[in-house]
Symmetry: C2
Subunit: 215 residues, 2 copies
DNA sequence: GAAGATGTGTAACAGTTGTTACACTTTAGA
DNA sequence: TCTAAAGTGTAACAACTGTTACACATCTTC
């Protein structure tokens, strides 16, 4: 899910990239730290590609305070989904957190590329599809309210032949679920206690495991 | 976000729709209640459009129990994002919950339409863009842990000139946030108590309101 | 193989939310 | 206008999770 994928080109030098952007009629803009790249409510009429630097997105604060939301590091498109949305406006402020280079590709140019450059098309579609996939996954996980439920869902997704591998350690799981680390340990050991799973990765009671997700 | 939007055609009769599907080389399939339309892990090689009926998505249960996930009512595409995803497999079982008609349009035909039919293209892109937008919104809201935080985020999104309108009643808000109704009432009255908002829709302290989102 | 770093198990307590129940207010319809 | 339905305010208690702290295990590196 990066710049190369999105543009349908492999790893290239900075010079090659510039030539490539030129062929797309891109406007290259440079920003200093603290510059606003876009403001909440601005129309998204271009495909914004952050080719150098990093940005953070923020909600507006009328009276001083600032609420950080997310940091995005190059290379990555900035709001690729909004370009074709009905409400095609930036949902947040986008501010350079260091020196940035951004390529703006007009909607028309993007559409032309999409229809003439199969590689570009496939990459663009795959990027958005993967993002939807990612968001759906995260949403389903977050909408499960209990930690045991999240764990059960997570385990069932990775289960094979009654065995599972968590892949992440407790600290990483906690971050992924948005919960506290000791809470993961507690829930996990309770599930072992209740003979639903074993601590070494076996599923003992599939139905009970699924029931965690519901309740 | 419906069939018409997705296909780039207005409201048409069933006969017209069938002709339209024919022009897309669609395969029309009919299912009875209880039939499996797709199984978890099946490849998504077609654009599935549910034109009649309704389906529910389920996680598999090896030993009897069933875990419902979501109900989808016609007309709507079924897994439009997965068609172009890298991991293009159904994430869940899809089962007819009444008599259904599904149009399967091959990936090739979809790509052909996308490049030759601007209306189809725009509708398809808008559908996916809007879905991404929707998912991002929901995810951001759900990732806020406290109810006061969710309320603050919700209010700030709808705020204008220091005023806000919740638009939903408490019961609807509770469902939207995935929390209990009395908890909404409690959090709301605490925020009024703390002189951050008034119960009739004024924002008294913008910064405190944003702080709820963080903590 | 000793030492620090990383990962895990666990406990006590605080904080937030869910559950249930009920009173009250407002709205919509007869 | 009266009534039923829908919406809201609130309280007591249960349940779950977060916080903090510490013990112990395991892994890495010199």
């Amino acid at each position: 899910m990066n710049l190369e994928q999105c543009l349908g080109c492999g790893k290239i030098s900075k010079k090659e990239r510039e030539e490539y952007f030129n062929s797309l009629d891109a406007i290259i803009k440079n920003y200093k730290k603290g510059d606003y790249i876009a403001r909440q409510g601005d129309m998204v009429d271009y495909l914004y590609i952050l080719s150098e630097g990093s940005v953070k997105t923020e909600m507006i604060t009328e009276s001083g305070g600032i609420l950080g939301v997310e940091t995005i590091v190059a290379p990555r498109p900035l709001a690729p989904a909004f370009l074709f949305a009905d409400n095609n406006r930036f949902p947040v402020d986008v501010i350079a957190s260091k020196e940035c280079e951004v390529a703006l590709i007009s909607k028309e140019s993007v559409m032309k590329q999409l229809s003439t450059n199969e590689s570009f098309f496939k990459s663009y579609m795959a990027f958005n599809a993967n993002r939807t996939h990612f968001l759906s996954e995260r949403l389903q996980l977050l909408s499960i309210k209990t930690i045991k439920g999240k764990l059960a869902y997570y385990i069932l997704q990775r289960a094979k032949n009654g065995l599972f591998d968590l892949e992440l350690n407790q600290k990483e799981l906690a971050e992924y679920f948005g919960v506290a680390r000791p809470s993961i340990a507690r829930s996990f050991s309770e599930m072992v206690e209740e003979e639903v799973i074993t601590s070494d990765g076996k599923i003992l009671n599939n139905d009970k495991l699924k029931n965690y997700i519901l309740s």
